[in-house]
Symmetry: C2
Subunit: 327 residues, 2 copies
C-alpha cells in the first residue's frame, strides 16, 4: 500500500519534477563558482522537492495552469535550502541527507553567506510573480523560522518540555514553510481569500503531520534509512513528542531512568533499545502517530471545498504519504 | 567648513530622523524578547541612518511626499543591520561602533538567526510598498553582498590585491546597498527609468566615496574616533586602497618592509606609525582621497537633471560630507 502510494506520486509528478530540477539548476546562476558548489552540495543531494510540488498543485487546484508555476515553485526549495544551511551551522549537525553537512566541508562563514545568497535567489524569483502578498508570506516564514530556531536554542536540553511547546517548535520549524508554499500557490492563482486560507491550513496540517512522522522516524528507523544516527535529536537535547508523551506518563522510576539516559554523556545501543521499549510501553510512539494521523485527516478535509481534479488527488496522496513514508 | 556641513545636515534631517527612529522601534515587533535585545544592541547603537535618509530624499526628489517614505525607508536600515550582524560573525570582529560586537555577547548562532529575522522584517515592510521592483533590488543587494563577502574571505591576506579587485570588493560591500536605497526611493515615486538610473548611479558613487573615506580613516583616525583600533582592516588581512596604491609604488626595500609588517604576528604602535609614513610617502593616502573626491563629484553630477529643491541640496551635502567626516 505504502509502496503503491509512493509509486503513484512519483509517476504523476515525474514530468514536473524534471522541469523543477532544470529550473533549480538554471536559476542558481551565481557569479562565483564556490557559491554554486556549496549551494549545490545541499540542493542536489536527493531532496524530494516536496515544497515546489505543493506550490505547483496548490496553484493548479485554484485554476492556475500557464506553466509559470514551475519556475515560481523553486522559490520554496531555495528558501528551504537556505534555512537548512543556516540550521546546520546553528545546530552543528554533522550529516544532512546522509551526506556530510556543508559546514563540515566549508567554513561556517561561507555556509551562512551561501544561505543568504539562496534566500536572495528565492526573493529575486518571488519578485517576478508581481504578487506582494507572496513576499509577505516569505517574510513571515523567515521571521517565524528564525525566531523559532532561537527559541529552540534556549530550550535545548529542557527535560520538561511540554507538548504545547513542542507543537510551537515544529510549527515554526516545519509547518510555516510548507503552509507558505501552499498559500503562495493560491495567491499566484489569484484565488479567493477563502480558498487561500484552505490551502494555508492544508499546508499547516500537512507540515505538522510531516514533522511528527519525522520525529517518529528518529526512533523507529535505521541509520541507513535516516541518513543519520537514530536518536540524534534526543542526543542534541531536542525532546520530541514520542519522548515528551512517554515522560509525562511514565512510572516515577522509569521517568528518572529515561531522564538520566537522555542526559548521560555516553549512550550505547542497548540503552537506546531500552529507551525505545519505554516509548512503546508508555505509548509515546502510538500517541504521536495518532496525532499525526489526525493532522492528515484535517489536511485532507481542508480540500473538501475544491472540485475533484488531478491536483486535489495528488495533494491527498501527499498527505497520506507524509505519515506512511519509511524515510 | 566640515563642522558647518555636518551641522546643516543634522538640522535639516532632525525631524525626519526622529520619525525614522520611532519606526525602527515600532516595526521591530518580535515575539521573542531575546531577538529584540540582540537586534536592538546593534540597531540602536548610534547609527547615522544614512540609508533611510537617502531613500527618503531620493523619493522626495522624484516627487513622492505622502509621508510613507519614512516607514519604507527603514527597510534599508534593517537590511544594513542584518548584513552587519552576519558580517560580524563572518569576520569575527570584536567591536562595532565602539561597542562589543553582538557575537561576543551572544552565540554566533543567535546572531546569525537575528540577522535572518531583521532581513525578514525588511522584506515584510518592502512587501507593503506593492512595488515588486523594490523586492528585486533587495534580492540583488543581498545576492551581491553575500557573494562579495565570500569572495573577500578567499582574498584575505592576499598581498598583491589589485586596485580593480579592491574596487569590486567595496562595490559589493558598501555601494550596492546605498545605491539600492536611492534607486528604491525613485521606484517608490514611480519615477521615469532615467531618473531611477540617475539615483542608482548617485548612490553607487556615494557608496564608493563613502567606503574609500572609511578605509582612509582606518589609517588616519584615532581609536576613539573610530570606535575600534586603527589599522584593524590590515591586521585582519584586508588590504585597502591606501596600502594597495603604496605597495604598487614603493621602492623594492620599502615594499618588502611593508609586506613583512602586514603579515607580522606582532605589530606595535611604532610600526604602525612607520607604515603610515610610507602610505604618505608613496601617496596611498593622497591617491585614495583623490579617487574618493572623484566619486563625490560624479555623484553630484548624477543629480544635474533634477530640479533644485531641499532634497537635492541635502543629497549634495551628504555627498560632500561622505569624504569630510572625521568618523
Amino acid at each position: 500500500m505504502t509502496k503503491g502510494l509512493k509509486q503513484k506520486i512519483i509517476e504523476k509528478t515525474a514530468p514536473d519534477l524534471k522541469k523543477v530540477e532544470a529550473a533549480l539548476e538554471y536559476h542558481l546562476k551565481p557569479n562565483l563558482d564556490l557559491v554554486r558548489k556549496i549551494a549545490s552540495h545541499l540542493l542536489f543531494s536527493g531532496g524530494k522537492r516536496l515544497r515546489p510540488l505543493l506550490m505547483i498543485h496548490s496553484a493548479r487546484l485554484c485554476g492556475y495552469n500557464n506553466g509559470f508555476e514551475i519556475e515560481f515553485s523553486i522559490i520554496f526549495e531555495y528558501l528551504h535550502a537556505a534555512t537548512l544551511l543556516h540550521d546546520d551551522v546553528v545546530d552543528k549537525a554533522d550529516t544532512r541527507r546522509g551526506k556530510k553537512a556543508a559546514h563540515t566541508k566549508w567554513s561556517a562563514s561561507k555556509v551562512v553567506l551561501t544561505g543568504d545568497f539562496l534566500l536572495a535567489r528565492a526573493l529575486d524569483i518571488a519578485a517576478k510573480t508581481k504578487e506582494p502578498n507572496i513576499i509577505s508570506v516569505i517574510a513571515k516564514i523567515t521571521q517565524d523560522m528564525s525566531q523559532g530556531e532561537i527559541d529552540q536554542l534556549g530550550k535545548k536540553g529542557k527535560l520538561n518540555l511540554s507538548e504545547e511547546e513542542y507543537l510551537e517548535v515544529i510549527k515554526r520549524k516545519t509547518a510555516v514553510l510548507i503552509q507558505g508554499a501552499c498559500q503562495s500557490g493560491a495567491i499566484l492563482a489569484k484565488a479567493q481569500k477563502e480558498k487561500e486560507d484552505d490551502l494555508n491550513q492544508y499546508g499547516f496540517h500537512l507540515g505538522m503531520a510531516f514533522q511528527m512522522a519525522d520525529d517518529l522516524l528518529d526512533y523507529t528507523a535505521s541509520a541507513k534509512e535516516l541518513g543519520k544516527n537514530p536518536g540524534a535529536d534526543m542526543r542534541e537535547g531536542k525532546l520530541t513528542l514520542p519522548l515528551i508523551h512517554s515522560l509525562a506518563n511514565a512510572a516515577p522510576d522509569d521517568k528518572i531512568w529515561m531522564q538520566d539516559a537522555i542526559t548521560a554523556p555516553e549512550f550505547n545501543k542497548d540503552q537506546f533499545e531500552k529507551l525505545k521499549e519505554k516509548l512503546y510501553l508508555y505509548k509515546g510512539i502510538e500517541y504521536t502517530f495518532d496525532r499525526a494521523k489526525g493532522h492528515v485527516k484535517r489536511a485532507k478535509a481542508c480540500l473538501d471545498g475544491f472540485n475533484d481534479c488531478q491536483s486535489k488527488q495528488l495533494l491527498c496522496w501527499i498527505a497520506d504519504y507524509s505519515i506512511a513514508r519509511k524515510v
